[in-house]
Symmetry: C2
Subunit: 183 residues, 2 copies
């Protein structure tokens, strides 16, 4: 097989639910790098703290409520969602300064968490506070209000945590600045 | 907003690449629970070990090669892919015995890692061995040969690891039996 193979046809997804969140707009916009550095960093820090404290509701559409049975046993879940406010044109972006910061080296989109990507499926691990019927209440989800849900998975450290993972220096800089410790 | 809102339209994805793997068939099939328990557990253990040792190639299609720039700085990446050998009918499954094991309690699909789910976007964290142009060589990917790639993301512990995450007893049983420690 090589990269010249015929490309597979498009894949289709029907959202299984929708996010209800107090966050109405994405604060960090990849590619939008015309903001002064200090202001950008202050924004990032405030946004990061806001997300940590945000409580959102995940409404699962009725045909799929039963698929949640057993999710209550997990303290954390992995949420796959679609950043619907991203302009479709921005799915063509190739490189960005991470978080729009010109002081950080340009990176290919696949080397960043930019929401503007060819297939914008965003993956977020959040705390599950409770389940009531078809509604999950979660804490720490970055998704803005109205984001379509693609999938819900249980969080299992044995699969998701890699103790020895290393990252480039620019990631360490962001983590230090945001005082992140993986919760 | 309530669950009676009009459902959003279908989302469309174009695969950004394809997996080349020595694994030709999925060994664990969700819902296929007609196998004797001991045999099932032996299969699981062998399959799990096989996956850990598997080296696969991710071929990124040409328009997107540049998006990989900078990925070399990460020891691990998160791969989103489509389990293309799953019968589309099985996207309608609602509950399964995890890993097809009748000795484990039935769970809703969203409470399991079953590949048969409404929107089968599978998420796997793997070691990145090297990048050569549009090809990533990775270790530990469960995807079978030919699986379409949906997205590639960098793995960052600050985002993906939750040290205090708890899981139900059935997950601990599987982890003990497979001797999993998150690598």
């Amino acid at each position: 097989m090589s990269n010249t193979d015929t490309k597979p046809l498009a894949l289709h997804f029907n959202p299984v639910g929708k996010v209800q969140s107090p966050i109405k707009n994405p604060i960090l916009k990849a590619g939008e790098s015309d903001i002064e550095l200090q202001k950008r960093m202050d924004q990032m820090r405030a946004h990061h703290q806001e997300i940590n404290d945000t409580v959102s509701s995940l409404f699962i559409f009725e045909p799929w409520t039963e698929l949640l049975d057993g999710i209550e046993g997990f303290s954390h879940i992995v949420v796959l969602y679609w950043p619907h406010l991203i302009d479709p044109e921005r799915r063509k972006l190739r490189k960005v300064h991470p978080m729009g910061r010109k002081d950080l080296p340009m990176q290919g989109i696949f080397a960043t968490r930019s929401p503007a990507r060819p297939n914008p499926v965003l993956v977020s691990t959040v705390r599950l506070l409770k389940r009531e019927g078809n509604v999950l209440t979660v804490k720490g989800l970055e998704a803005v209000d109205g984001s379509p849900l693609i999938d819900i998975k249980p969080y299992m450290r044995a699969y998701h945590d890699v103790a020895k993972a290393t990252v480039p220096e620019w990631v360490h800089r962001i983590e230090r600045e945001l005082d992140m410790d993986g919760e």
